[in-house]
């Protein structure tokens, strides 16, 4: 292997690693705030990429239907829980009105926009923002419908619910998008030659976006009071509630952010890879590996883990391409062995 190939592989690895890092961030975020291992993360990758692709090819983004359907469901759940609590407190009219705006009016507005505007040919940034306008509320609705009613359940039960949601979304994805995958337009056709290495603009965009988001998240959770409050809910829900932190708000926020990060990850990989409705799962799993390498707690470590996973994947696809996945997923065993040696004591309760 000469330096040229080495550098190309490194570039590939770091670019993919940056995407894994975004996913790892989202997983760490959701887990540390809600204790949910967010398997449906992968679906947002596929859904996001395919929606952008639909907008670019002038098709109606059919994810809007799902947004409207889940919105109606969420509203019904809200009404149901309000009625059930009728005996203890008056009907929360204001809350229901907001819920109506959020879950019925907003999706309708999105539908009108999707129908009314000519999305083909718009700047890609606008298309991505519109896609985020669909996926982020979807993430928040998912939290309301599936997870909020059982926020106090054990990690295992939450995990199983997450798997249930994953299955449901996967099936919906096939129905909405069909079995074929798509690619999107490139962000830029700029490229530069540095020595023997051709640096593609695509890689630069992916790296830049990922680095910015990671830095923002890190600052938010480690420096801002609101971010610290979110972390406090993960450590002790009851304690956080007692000091006035809204755990439900925290959960919504985490799901919204995770949906956004998943969607962005999808749009970042879509120009280079064909993305189908079910592509996201394996990509998200690699994000998982990265998050575990980072200990599911620390953002910078998870990002470092993600780059490691990306590099490992890229070099192993050169030397032993058949064993690529085996190598990436086996990485976890030495990492965990090391962790169990380091952590030593520690009681889980």
């Amino acid at each position: 292997m000469d330096f040229g190939i080495f550098a190309v592989l490194a570039q590939d690895g770091i670019t993919n690693g940056a995407v894994y890092a975004l996913l790892a961030m989202a997983l760490v975020l959701v887990f540390s705030v809600t204790r949910i291992i967010f398997l449906p993360q992968g679906e947002f990758i596929g859904f996001g990429a395919l929606t952008v692709a639909a907008l670019q090819s002038g098709q109606f983004p059919r994810l809007v239907w799902m947004l409207m359907a889940v919105g109606v469901l969420t509203f019904l759940v809200e009404i149901g829980s309000a009625l059930r609590q009728r005996r203890y407190k008056p009907l929360p009219r204001r809350h229901l009105m907001w819920s109506g705006i959020e879950n019925l009016a907003y999706p309708t507005l999105v539908w009108v926009l999707a129908r009314g505007l000519e999305w083909q040919g718009m700047p890609m940034v606008v298309q991505i923002l519109f896609t985020l306008g669909i996926t982020v509320p979807l993430g928040i609705m998912l939290y309301r419908v599936a997870f909020q009613p059982m926020a106090e359940a054990s990690v295992l039960v939450l995990l199983i619910v997450a798997v249930g949601v994953h299955f449901a979304m996967l099936g919906m994805g096939l129905f909405i998008f069909g079995p074929e995958g798509s690619t999107t337009q490139a962000f830029t056709d700029w490229s530069a030659e540095i020595g023997a290495l051709l640096v593609s603009g695509q890689s630069v965009v992916v790296l830049g976006v990922s680095a910015c988001l990671i830095a923002l998240l890190y600052l938010f959770f480690d420096r801002s009071l609101y971010g610290k409050a979110l972390r406090a809910t993960a450590v002790n829900r009851k304690g956080a509630q007692l000091v006035g932190i809204g755990t439900t708000q925290a959960g919504r926020m985490a799901f919204g952010l995770a949906a956004a990060l998943g969607t962005l990850a999808g749009t970042l990989i879509a120009p280079l890879n064909t993305v189908g409705y079910d592509t996201g799962f394996v990509v998200a799993l690699k994000g998982f590996v990265a998050a575990i390498v980072g200990g599911l707690a620390s953002y910078p470590l998870a990002a470092a883990g993600a780059v490691l996973v990306g590099l490992l994947e890229s070099y192993s696809s050169f030397w032993a391409s058949a064993y690529k996945e085996v190598i990436v997923f086996t990485l976890i065993i030495p990492v965990l062995a090391w962790r169990s040696l380091v952590s030593g004591h520690g009681d889980e309760e």
Binding site: F31, R35, I37, A146, P149, M150, A153, V155, L156, V157, L159, I160, V161, V163, G164, V165, H166, F167, A168, M169, L170, G171, M172, L174, F175, L285, F288, V289, A291, I292, L296, A322, Y323, E325, V326, F329, T330, L331, I332, I333, L336, A337, R339, S340, S343, G346, D347, E348, E349
Partner: protein, 597 residues
């Protein structure tokens, strides 16, 4: 006739067993075969996840190991499938032991994520290895035969599968109702409590990990010879997730929930696959949507799974009888059980000199020194945050001392772990009670008798432990009567009042046959009557020659009860003496009531 829940369970099983003798269509037999195969894996998962508290998504990979091992041996090497079974079990046990030893020590959520990763890694390995036929897999696996009798017919295989399932059920139920079984049940409560009972938690975790893998491997072997071919797909992550689904839907802490879960999920899926395309058309993959939604709904309705619901309805008509009962009279050899020699009254048993514990810059215990003599009740008191609990943790081995010496009966214990210390004769209770709430008082107390028995998991599973088991249960029952909880022998520990739970913990500590009993804030949160009962019990134990170290901050409680008091503040000893002296000690008054500036 009254039918107990236990009989109902075996009746249910018997009905399934006789199922193929009925004139049912072959399709049903196929479904029944799969239910049996899935139940075997799920049973292992119930042991691992529901009872031991270790979540695994990777069981499908062990099914794959079993299936591929027998497939490879019988096709490529032409060996007997029975040898394939044996090799498969050995391979799976080795793999599980290896993976287990690096992953089971991990706390909480790491383990499930790790199992996802190695599950995938084994799946991709099956699909990549040349000699396993890559993604096409192996085909032409010979059918099973036993002494020349062909077992390939589906109805015969059904018998074999359900026979294996019945065998596994019997072994697991036996195991759970025994000394090692109680150790396994204690695992889910974290590490501190089982270790303080002398249970080697890491070893037991690896044990259940290997047992679950063995069951998965057995299921894989049956699968390979039922299907006569193997490929990687059925051993992927989605199957691993489905096994966990079955366990959770059935009721993850319940052995019989494994079968119920497998029946429900397999039945539901096959029904949905038939029904939904008729209702909604064949476009799209609707069964997976409905399946996912149903799971979410089911868990919203019954977070503990279906079996507890079924059992609760049944119990309304047939009140359950206690499953674990201690013998009424002392079993043979009970008098010969090893008991620790009591040290002579007044001799030195615990000697703490210059013990210090530092956490970074914080000195929690600063050069503490005091002694306890046999037959004494000593109180370690001090205001909140004085370092009493840290001192307690140093003596019980939860934390190692940073410097100084702690000697028990002349031997140094300051660097030993909790498990070693309880073996030497220091029993303890917990400030926040550590009990397994759904188990009876008797079973909880019997956990303390762990070190008094030797039964191995194998002999427990084969029911060769009944003599020793009777001794241990009798011992536990004796301690329960000794502390005055005899009326609550079969009550679930979780339904006792806090004061009774504290007393239960003392009974459990007494089972370890201690020379010295350490009680961590036993009176905290108790009502007056409960405090009086506790004080009477401690006096009674002292009368029997027990030495007791009480950690308390309730002055009134310790005053009339102890022979001597040691007072701590800010990690140091500020006073020591008779209760009456301490009551008038100025330093103590200042510490408790605030000094005069």
């Amino acid at each position: 006739m009254k039918i107990s829940t236990k009989k109902l369970q075996w009746l249910m099983f018997g009905w399934f067993f006789l199922f193929p003798f009925l004139p049912v269509p072959g399709y049903w037999i196929t479904i029944g075969n799969y239910i049996g195969l899935y139940s075997i894996v799920t049973l292992g998962l119930v042991l691992l996840t529901g009872i031991g508290g270790l979540t695994s998504f990777g069981q499908a990979a062990f099914v794959g190991l079993g299936a591929y091992t027998t497939g490879y041996l019988s096709i490529s090497l032409g060996l007997s499938p029975w040898l394939g079974l044996l090799t498969g079990l050995v391979v799976s046990a080795l793999a599980a032991g290896l993976i287990g030893s690096v992953t089971v020590r991990l706390s909480g959520h790491f383990l499930p994520l790790a199992t996802i990763a190695w599950g995938l890694s084994l799946f991709y390995l099956f699909g990549t290895l040349e000699f396993l036929g890559k993604y096409d897999g192996l085909s032409g696996i010979p059918p099973l035969s036993l002494f020349g009798i062909d077992l390939s017919a589906p109805r015969v295989m059904y018998g074999l599968i359900w026979f294996c399932l019945g065998g596994c059920l019997w072994l697991v139920l036996n195991l759970l109702n025994s000394r090692p079984g109680r150790a396994i049940r204690a695992l889910a409560k974290g590490k501190t409590m089982p270790e303080a009972m002398g249970i080697h938690t890491a070893q037991y975790k690896i044990l259940i990990f290997v047992l679950a893998a063995l069951m998965a491997s057995l299921s894989g072997w049956l699968y390979a010879h039922l299907q006569r071919s193997v490929s990687a797909t059925p051993f992927g992550l989605h199957m691993g997730i489905e096994y966990l689904f079955m366990a959770v839907v059935g009721g993850v802490g319940h052995v019989w929930g494994a079968i119920l879960g497998a029946v429900m999920m397999t039945g539901l899926k096959s029904q949905l696959q038939d029904l939904l395309p008729l209702l909604l058309g064949s476009q799209g993959n609707f069964e997976i949507v409905v399946f996912g939604v149903l799971i979410v709904l089911l868990l919203l309705w019954a977070p503990d799974g279906l079996w507890p619901r079924v059992a609760a309805v049944w119990a309304r008509f047939n009140p359950p009888e206690p499953e674990v009962v201690a013998p009424a009279i002392a079993p043979d050899g009970y008098g010969d059980m090893a008991r620790r020699a009591k040290p002579a009254a007044g001799s030195l048993i615990l000697e703490i000199s210059e013990a210090r514990k530092q956490f970074g810059g914080l000195v929690a215990v600063k050069d503490m020194s005091f002694e306890i003599h046999a037959g004494e009740v000593v109180g370690l008191i001090g205001p909140n945050g004085a370092g009493k609990s840290t001192m307690f943790n140093l003596v019980t081995g939860v934390l190692p001392a940073s410097s100084g010496e702690i000697r028990f009966l002349g031997e140094r214990i300051d660097q030993l772990g909790a498990r070693r210390i309880v073996k030497m004769g220091i029993g303890r209770s917990f400030q926040h009670v550590h009990l397994v709430p759904h188990l009876s008082v008797l079973e909880n107390v019997a956990m303390g008798a762990h070190l008094r028995g030797k039964t191995s998991p194998l002999s427990a599973a084969l029911r060769m432990d009944r003599h020793e088991e009777a001794q241990l249960l009798f011992l536990a029952a004796e301690q329960i009567r000794r502390v005055g909880l005899g009326d609550y022998m079969h009550t679930p520990a979780g339904s006792l009042a806090l004061g009774q739970q504290r007393i239960l913990e003392i009974a459990r500590a007494l089972c370890t046959d201690p020379v010295l009993l350490l009680l961590d804030e036993p009176a905290a949160g108790l009502r007056l009557k409960e405090k009086e009962a506790l004080a009477d019990l401690i006096r009674q134990l002292k009368g029997e020659g027990m030495s007791v170290l009480l950690v308390e901050h309730d002055m009134d409680f310790v005053m009339g009860l102890t022979d001597r008091l040691v007072v701590m503040e800010f990690g140091s000893k500020i006073a020591e003496g008779l209760p009456a002296e301490i009551q008038n000690n100025e330093a103590v008054l200042a510490a408790y009531l605030g000094g005069i500036e």
